[in-house]
């Protein structure tokens, strides 16, 4: 029983981090219709910003917003000087549809190489703000610690803030309009370029939190080659697709499903399936519900 509960708790915490990553993928998709494979690279870079803040200021609570701001700035920079130009240049031609997506794969490589050359390939550490030692119930230790509680609460707060932003403000509608038809959006007075930059920035900040939490939730150390970031890359993307790619709620559900399934597969089947399980889930979802768990109809609401 305790094993089941622990598996559940591990899955939910990991899943909430994947959700943030999936939200980042969804935000970029919504604003520019690009699948951003560089998102994990951007999260990595942001986590290094957070690491630098930790080194100099020694506070996780400063490092987290620093990482978020850094992530938002990097994302805005990429959108402003790179994607905007690329989307314009590749609007016509045989590979117009895939060129920006392939470009984000290239960006991922560039960012990884860049972080390696700046910070070196060896592991660096970020210490979480609270203990990651599990709560105990009687003789049993739960796989749920103050740190995991903190992660869960922070993710919930961020998701609530984001969905409030999308439902209560016109930003959600503006993002959709900009992606669907820039011309109509502009004629409606929407500053499409600014809206796109905003979408990327929110994604960058969201990915930064995912990177920071993924690191402290793991063993606290990371490097450009960490398996943690490969996992973020794969899980964020797959969770977003499972969730229908167009919906914040879908991204959250996708992340949680993925986190739980990975956790249960590891615990009850085999840890060697670690990297295969997410892809199997992706294939199953694509076969059964190609529109994602949350279809486009529901997606527009959230």
């Amino acid at each position: 029983m305790i094993q089941f509960i622990n598996t559940l708790l591990i899955g939910i915490t990991a899943g909430s981090i994947y959700s943030l990553m999936a939200i980042a993928i969804v935000l970029v998709w919504r604003s520019t219709r690009v699948i951003n494979f560089a998102q994990a690279g951007m999260a990595l870079l942001s986590t290094y910003f957070g690491y630098e803040a930790m080194v100099h200021l020694n506070s996780f609570w400063i490092a987290l917003p620093v990482a978020m701001a850094g992530g938002a700035a990097v994302a805005a920079f990429i959108e402003l000087v790179f994607m905007r130009f690329l989307l314009k240049r590749s609007a016509h031609g045989a590979i117009s549809g895939v060129a920006p997506i392939i470009a984000t794969l290239g960006l991922l490589g560039v960012i990884r190489a860049l972080t390696s050359s700046i910070w070196g390939g060896q592991d660096v550490r970020i210490v979480g703000p609270v203990s990651n030692v599990g709560y105990s119930i009687g003789a049993n230790t739960l796989a749920f610690s103050p740190l995991k509680l903190l992660i869960l609460v922070t993710v919930i707060v961020l998701v609530l803030l984001l969905s409030l932003l999308f439902q209560k403000s016109s930003i959600g509608l503006s993002l959709r309009a900009s992606a669907f038809s820039p011309e109509i959006a502009r004629l409606s007075g929407i500053r499409v370029d600014a809206v796109r930059t905003l979408g990327w920035s929110l994604a960058g900040a969201s990915g930064a939190v995912a990177g920071m939490f993924q690191t402290v939730n793991g063993n606290g150390s990371f490097s450009p080659d960490s398996i943690e970031f490969s996992l973020l890359l794969v899980s964020g993307f797959i969770a977003a697709v499972i969730g229908g790619l167009d919906s914040l709620i879908g991204a959250v559900i996708g992340g949680l499903v993925l986190g739980l399934v990975i956790s249960f597969v590891l615990m009850y089947i085999s840890s060697s399936l670690f990297f295969i399980a997410p892809f199997v889930i992706l294939l199953i979802v694509l076969f059964l519900r190609p529109q994602g768990i949350i279809g486009a109809k529901a997606a527009r609401r959230a």
Binding site: L165, S169, S170, L173, S181, S188, G189
Partner: protein, 255 residues
């Protein structure tokens, strides 16, 4: 054509694409509450002129006056703030949004809410105000009953109404309609004529249209473009009888 009070006036508009001259020294004036038709054979430059007025293409030369004041040719996303709204030939509704939401997009510039107040949910007033205006705009095109339908369930004539509502929701002073009658049957054209005449009580209307029924029924003034130049302009009856216009139309087999 010297009035300072013209709602919109352009002069000397020239545009070349590569070596091809799409517009040559074109002028156009739209008075307040006037319905002006822009006609001409295919490829005459009507859409290019429309696009220039909307900032979708940048003219090589020309001047732009709004209410008698000289103004740079506007950026597309600044149009609604200048009181200009436009429909596109392709209707361009968002299939998976409701009709009301589609119309609300046309009023996004009214949303003043910043990120922070949105996060604090302080802007429901904004949202409600825009929603209310979108409903009113739908009523004006006799489509109030469609508000909650998904856009992709509409008939083609209904999508045209909704597209006009989306332009109206910004409460423009100048409404630009790009082939509003295109693809409509006789009954819908009747409805469109009535609508345009009603709208002209509140705004100026500029329309590009092939349907001469519509043009003759609603326009008080016509501009005729051919090969990128204005070959005739003036009140509808005079222009209709202009030999240059007849030649241009006979030449292409249009009527």
């Amino acid at each position: 054509m010297s009035t300072n009070s013209a709602a919109l006036r352009v002069e000397g508009v020239s545009i070349s694409f590569g070596g091809l001259r799409a517009l040559n020294d074109v002028y156009l004036e739209i008075g307040k509450n006037e319905v002006v038709g822009l006609i001409g054979p295919n490829g005459a430059g009507k859409t290019t002129l429309f696009n220039a007025l909307c900032g979708l293409v940048t003219p090589d030369s020309g001047s732009f006056y709004l209410d008698g004041h000289k103004h740079a040719f506007p950026r597309t996303d600044a149009l609604v703030d200048l009181g200009i709204a436009r429909t596109l030939q392709g209707v361009g509704l968002f299939a998976d949004l409701t009709v009301l939401e589609n119309v609300m997009i046309g009023a996004q510039h009214l949303a003043q809410t910043g990120l922070i107040s949105a996060a604090l949910a302080r802007n429901t007033k904004d949202e409600n105000r825009i929603r209310e205006r979108a409903r009113i705009a739908l009523e004006r095109v006799y489509a109030g009953g469609l508000a909650d339908r998904r856009a992709d369930t509409l008939s083609y004539p209904d999508t045209k109404r909704v597209a006009i509502a989306r332009a109206l929701v910004s409460e423009p002073k100048i409404l630009m309609l790009d082939e509003p009658a295109g693809g409509l049957g006789a009954q819908d054209i009747e409805w469109l004529n009535v609508l345009i005449r009603n709208l002209s009580a509140q705004m100026s209307v500029l329309l590009v249209e092939h349907h001469m029924d519509v043009i003759m029924s609603v326009c008080s003034k016509l501009y005729v473009l051919n090969f990128g130049e204005v070959i005739a302009s003036g009140d509808s009856e005079t222009v209709r009888r202009d030999p240059a216009v007849i030649a241009a139309y006979l030449g292409t087999g249009n009527s």
